[in-house]
Every structure is written in C-alpha cells, then in structure tokens.
Amino acid sequence: MPPADTDTDRTVSEMPDGLWSMPQPTVPAPIADVAEPIQRIRVPASMHYRYTPGTAPTRFLLGLAEKKILGERDPVNGDVYVPPRGMSPVVGLPTTEQVELSDHGSLAAFCVVHIGFGVNAPPTPFVSALVLLDGAATSVYGTLLEIPIEEVRIGMRVEAVWVDDAELTTSFENIRYWRPLDEPDVPAATLQGHM
C-alpha cells in the first residue's frame, strides 16, 4: 500500500470488503498469505512542455516582475483587458495602448473549494475568486484569504498581496493571494457584463 497522501487519498484509503464487482479469485499460497496485498496504485500522468506566452502576455509578465499590472486597451470601445492577449476579443483589432492598473479591485465571482489539488493550493476549504481590477473590463483569477468564508460576498473590495520584492519573477504567482480592503462594497450590478 502506498504511503497515505492526504491530498488524493481522502476517503478510500482502505478498500471495504465486497467492493469489487468480480468474484474473488483463488491466489496461490505464497501470495495469498502476504501482508498488505496491493489494492491500489499511484499512476501519475504528466506532460512536460515549453510554454511561450506570446507578445502581449510577455509584456504583461514583464510588468509583473516590476510589480505592475499592465492591461491593454481596446482601440474601439476603450475597454482594458487584463491579462492582455494582444487583441480585442470584441472587435478583433490589435490592442496597442498599455494601461497600468491598480492592484485593488472588486470581487466579481467566487467559489468555495472543498477538494484541494495541486502543489500550490491552500488548505481546504478556501475561496477561489475572480477579481475585477479597478479600471479593467476583464477579471483575474486568484485566492481570497484573510476573511471567514461565510463573510465573502460579491462586490466586496479586495487588494493583492504580493510576494517580497526579492522574489518577484515574470509570473502571476507574484500575487500570492487577495485580501479584503476596508472599503464599502460596490453594487453587484456594476460587476455584471464583464468577460
């Protein structure tokens, strides 16, 4: 039996009798008598790949290394997209103007996560959040901490908590998580209609 893994072996660490749907086979004596017969195996599947973010996300990631959140403006309707993809998904034209955004925003949507996964996930339960940054038309994804889960609500004001300056890299993981701001909520209706 593999060692217990609290991330993935949540409830079924022992197989109850009668679990298998097929008949119990007869097993030759030397094997039938061993302690701890194999009942489950860990078979991780992984892909290793080189990721190239492209020109606009590269600009965005280089900004993050300087603790700046850089969106890009739609040339027609003026919306600021973050993270930028280099073009407007509405009119299909390239975005050309970079716009530095605040690291303050409003909670546009959230989900309470009870089943943790991945190496960077906080202990469960935690709040996974979409944050609409002030001045942006699209929201960014993150984790909301420093607040009891039952007090989380759409429209609450939040701010980014960054890694130490010495740890800044070209990664969105520079933002460790989001936490509440002591400001009045914005009306939820103002958060509707964003991508």
């Binding site: 593999p2 072996d9 094997i31 195996i41 080189r50």
Partner: protein, 148 residues
C-alpha cells in the same frame, strides 16, 4: 530572441509540467498480480479453455466469463517477438538502447510485453531481473535478460 512584433522585447518562455496524480484501485486479479511482483513471483490466470493467461485478465479473452484461478508461472520465458528502441525517450524503461519484447513465460500460454536489456532474437530464452526495491508495480520487473 528579439522579435519585430514584440517591439524588440525578447519573448518569454518557460518549462511547465502538468501532472494528474491518478490513484486507482486494482481489483482483486491485478492486485494479486502486482502483489506477486512485489514478492518476486509472477501470476497468470487459468482461462475457460485451461490455458494460462499472463499477465492475468479479469475476464476470459474468448468467452468473457469471469476468471478466478490464479496460478504461478515461471520467471524465465521465451521471446516471441521484439522491437528495437535505439533512441530511448524520457519515461521509457531504460535510458540506453533496449528491446521491447513479447515474452511467453514458462507455464503461460500468452506473452507479456516488457523490456529486454540487450540485443535479443525471437526464440531467445530470457529471465527476469527484479528491481532492488519493489512496490507492486509492473516496473518491479526491472528488465528481462538473455540467458546465455
């Protein structure tokens, strides 16, 4: 690399890994087979027609009936077919050129796929080289080796 379209800014690139930590149950037949490997023994299973299928299957390959009689087979066998891997990739059983072969173990009537360390020909006799540390996986058989 500088790129005109990125305004001369070098494009970023990163090595990423996506991994799914699958943890699956074996069922009683495969579980016994893997338990056997950990104990340096190989199990097959007797089919409806009396032939021994190795590695064991839960159901008869011909009739689909559930099979229940696991039997021990030998740790030596005969190569029935093979393919040469001259440039092994990451994740393959050995990091140097090797053969992937179908091996019919003594006492079994079907062949299993595994790796032979070294050159091999159809009809060659081979034996199991067990891994030093075994945990109940097919890799508990480190490789097969030709019997000189």
């Amino acid at each position: 690399m500088a790129d005109e379209k990125s305004g001369g800014t070098p494009l970023l690139e990163a090595s990423l890994v996506i991994e799914y930590p699958f943890n699956r149950t074996t069922g009683p037949v495969i579980g016994a087979f893997l338990t056997g490997l950990r104990e340096q023994r190989v199990l097959g299973i007797r089919g409806v027609d009396g032939r021994v299928v190795c590695p064991p299957t839960e159901y008869d390959p011909q009739t689909g009936d559930p099979l229940t009689e696991l039997v021990e087979v030998g740790s030596e066998g005969t190569v029935t077919s093979w393919s040469w891997v001259s440039n092994p990739r990451d994740g393959q059983p050995l990091d140097h050129p090797h053969a992937l072969a179908l091996i019919k173990l003594d006492g079994a009537d079907t062949a299993m796929l595994h790796v032979v360390d070294g050159e091999v020909a159809t009809g060659d006799r081979v034996r199991i080289r067990w891994a030093d540390e075994r945990e109940g996986l097919i890799t508990d058989i480190a490789a097969f080796e030709r019997i000189a």
